[in-house]
Amino acid sequence: MARTISYREALNEALAQEMERDESVIVLGEDNAGGAGSPGEDDAWGGVLGVTKGLYHRFPGRVLDTPISESAFVGAAIGAATRGLRPVAELMFIDFMGVCFDQIFNQAAKFRYMFGGKAETPVVIRTMYGAGLRAAAQHSQALYPIFTHIPGLKVVVPSSPYEAKGLMIQSIRDSDPVIFCEHKAMYDTTGDVPEDSYTIPFGEANVVRDGDDVTVVAIGRMVSVAEEAARELSTSGIEVEIIDPRTTSPLDEETILESVENTGRLVVVDEATPRCNLATDISALVAKEAFGSLRAPIEMVTAPHTPVPFSDALEDLYIPDAQRVANAVKSVAGWTR
């Protein structure tokens, strides 16, 4: 039965159900067990995001706090994954990948290929991305394109509570390293989520909305931004088809191409900065594989090529919004040779 719960609760439920089902699943990260060694209440925090709250008491010994040593504990999660555990490590903010990137991209990502197919590294690295909380340049980036760039990593960007739960369970069961990117402004977003365990397969995009006029591919939180734009556009007679790729690696190319073959027009909405991001990647795919179907130039709606500014006045201009998406859709819809 589905109930309405938050993105945070959906993730917590996915972790709990998988820990219940499979003893080899462990959870680790800064304050994930609530703050080790502190004199007050146990499990006070559940990670800074509150996603792991309650797991510490339910699964004794399987929720570990860590010192602030990302290289060591993310690397430890990766090492443990090669030896029979299925660790879910929390790299609090995606920006902190800078501290531990070697363990992720030179170690975890490479093992299977480098070792001739002999390694399995079923680790999940949960991390929050995105702007909107006035958290400034080192706590707001949308860095999933960097992980997407690396062969050997799978990259998940869930766009709703329903997606978050199913994709998290799939991530834990998947036997490759998975970077699971949660948008920090979405933890309190609510939606219908089944109580029972379920998985959403990787590499299968979700067609969020059908429409014949323009294809809009949107990543993560940008899916809801695109939906907002679509509602407004519909009143002026433009029907948008919204595609949520769910995973940027693997990427469901087929669903995107099929949609563009029908609409002939593409807008990609990506919160990342504009160079070498998902917008350029998907645009290149479509330009190459569906060139003959295109009836207008492709539009990309992205952040500008700058760090994320602090001031609300600037951050609100930085983040792609429904107005910018609507403008891009109108410009491709109205384009004539």
Binding site: A44, V48, A135, A136, A137, P309, F310, D312, Y318
Partner: protein, 331 residues
């Protein structure tokens, strides 16, 4: 070797220096307590980490620094900024996200910086500062300025690879660097008695071939003396020092933190250990400073903070024209 300094004597500081130290500590305290109140009204955006309770560290260390010297700070950086001379009004405006702020509203609380003052910035990355200070110390050494670099970092940051690598590098290169580990008992909700495997952070100095010192962080004079020795050694080519400053943070990890993981140590620290109270008691008892002069500073500081908040609130925000500037020097 780790030494615990006994409570130090204050005779090296003349009246002006004492008044300056008091003004700095009072300014930090008033700045942070005001931010605590203003944050509660919902007007301040983003994450704000307050330094109240820890004033003696920034003040006692920075009292030895001048224009040749640089410091690197942390996410809890307001105190370090004030102690290194960053303009208080510009800091307040920055925290409010205003164009008149130290970083024109682009950085916010976690990134206040003033390179002209040798203040390399608060830092959103735990452990981000120590490597940079190896660099500023290297530059001072190569250029023969006599300057030193000071990295302030927390107990949590003391477990970061970047910090430990920097301690080693500073020794290997014999850099004029001082590493100030501010052990306030917690990294977020996690206790430093759990996360730091050694008994003391300063014990680690031995493994990196440098002196390690532990000081009572509520005692301005103890910090001042330990830092004075370390800065002098660094300036004279004697290499780096690790100073562990022990105290308690007065507020939550960030504003909004309910702090249920804590015991009741804050009330006790505020009542019995507080650096400002102890400083005042000491310098008035010894007759070095008249209490009325301290009271006058309290009033001046309160006025300054009032004006800073008022001006920050009234200041303009940056505009669309500012969004894409300052990414590069040239492009």
């Amino acid at each position: 070797m780790t030494d615990t300094l006994s409570t130090a004597v204050s005779h090296e500081l003349d009246e002006n220096a004492l008044l300056e130290a008091y003004r700095t500590m009072r300014t930090i305290r008033a700045f942070e307590e005001r931010l605590h109140d203003e944050f509660a009204t919902g007007e301040i955006p983003g994450f704000v980490h307050l330094y109240a309770g820890e004033e003696a560290s920034a003040t006692g260390v920075c009292a030895h620094l001048d224009g040749r010297d640089s410091i690197a700070s942390t996410h809890r950086g307001h105190g370090h900024c004030i102690a290194k001379g960053v303009d208080v009004k510009a800091m307040m405006a920055e925290i409010y996200g205003k164009k008149t702020g130290s970083c024109h509203g682009k950085g916010g609380s976690m990134h206040i910086a003033d390179l002209s003052k040798g203040m390399l910035g608060a830092n959103g990355i735990v452990g981000g500062g120590p490597p940079l200070i190896c660099g500023t110390a290297l530059a001072a050494k190569q250029r023969g300025t006599g300057g030193v670099g000071v990295a302030f970092f927390g107990d949590g940051a003391s477990n970061q690879g970047t910090t430990l690598e920097s301690l080693n590098l500073a020794s290997v290169w014999n850099l004029p660097a001082i590493f100030v580990a501010e052990n306030n008992g917690y990294a977020e909700a996690t206790s430093s008695s759990w996360s730091v495997a050694a008994d003391n952070i300063a014990d680690r100095a031995a493994g990196f071939g440098m002196p390690g010192v532990i000081v009572d962080g509520f005692d301005f004079f103890a910090v001042h003396e330990a830092a004075g020795e370390a800065v002098q050694r660094a300036r004279e080519g004697g290499g780096p020092t690790l100073i562990e400053v022990k105290f308690t943070r007065y507020f939550g990890h960030f504003e909004g933190d309910q702090q249920t993981y804590r015991a009741k140590e804050v009330a006790e620290a505020r009542a019995k250990l507080d650096c400002l109270k102890r400083f005042r008691a000491r310098v008035t008892e010894t007759g070095q400073v008249d209490a009325a002069r301290l009271d006058a500073i309290d009033t001046q500081v309160a006025d300054l903070i009032d004006a800073a908040v008022e001006e920050a609130k009234a200041a303009p925000k940056p505009t669309a024209a500012d969004l894409e500037t300052d990414v590069y020097v040239s492009y």
